[in-house]
């Protein structure tokens, strides 16, 4: 690799699956806590209840899909080692 005046490139990036796993757990706890708070507020709101049922479905579907993609990536990175 040719040393450049401002450093050696390209920089090889290898992220430890353990680090990703820890981030996944922390974000999972954070999202679970926020989800409980949001759903608590939506269910207690006295107006437009039907609309909030729909919002709850959209929110939970999106959150579930993102968590599934993240989990699959974490598992794949662990298996790659």
């Amino acid at each position: 690799m040719t040393p450049l005046p401002f450093g050696n490139f390209p920089i090889l990036i290898d992220i430890s699956p353990l680090v990703v796993g820890i981030i996944f757990v922390l974000v999972g706890i954070f999202v679970a806590a926020i989800s409980v708070i949001l759903i608590y507020h939506w269910r207690r709101f006295p107006f437009e209840y039907e609309r909030f049922k729909w919002v709850e479905k959209v929110y939970l579907s999106g959150t579930g899909a993102l968590l599934a993609i993240a989990a699959a990536s974490v598992i794949a990175s662990i298996q790659g080692y």
């Binding site: 920089i11 090889l12 990036i13 699956p17 954070f30 919002v55 993102l66 990536s73 974490v74 990175s77």
Partner: protein
């Protein structure tokens, strides 16, 4: 339900802040979600960084978690936006003000106290998007009841004015 309706009370309309304010949040959330993807993509395409195979999978996981955090914060913003609501009934105007989660302010104005209603649309954007404020002057009090940043303030003024007129006739 923390605001029970009275006997014979009917909801005439429910008004939220103008959609423009949540649209700005949507754009902000999309930008925030895309920033790390764009930065890393540029770094990879220009050859500054190279990922190992496991590094790619881990990176996809981290980016997805980042998008998840942005997604969660967006819904928190949406909740405070959407729960900021003004409910006009045939007896009252109820102002539920959500500053943030666990910080709520409820004000109730009886329509028989209404003396004067005025609307204001100030600026180019409010004129183009038709949003503004409605202020209600009440009898026996110097307090002004202000409903800000709502769509079609003149329509709301007419509804309140008509409901207050009907109540005075009874």
């Amino acid at each position: 339900m923390y605001i029970p309706l009275e006997d014979g009370e009917v909801i005439l309309t429910q008004v939220h802040r103008h959609w423009w304010f949540i649209l700005m949040r949507v754009f902000g959330a999309i930008l925030l979600a895309l920033v790390p993807v764009v930065i890393v993509s540029v770094a990879v395409l220009t050859g500054i960084v190279v990922f190992t195979m496991t590094g790619v999978m881990a990176f996809v996981g981290i980016i997805t978690l980042w998008v998840l955090v942005v997604w969660t914060f967006f819904w928190q913003f949406w909740t405070t936006y959407y729960m900021d609501i003004w409910v006009v009934t045939n007896y009252r105007v109820i102002d539920i003000d959500y500053h943030r989660l666990f910080d709520r302010d409820i004000a109730i104005l009886r329509l028989n106290q209404v003396e004067d209603i005025s609307t204001r649309m100030q600026g180019i954007l409010p004129w183009l998007l038709r949003y503004g404020s409605v202020s209600i002057q009440t009898a026996g009090s110097s307090r002004e009841f202000l409903i800000d940043q709502i769509a079609d303030p003149e329509g709301l003024r007419d509804i309140i004015s008509r409901a207050a007129g009907d109540l005075h006739k009874k």
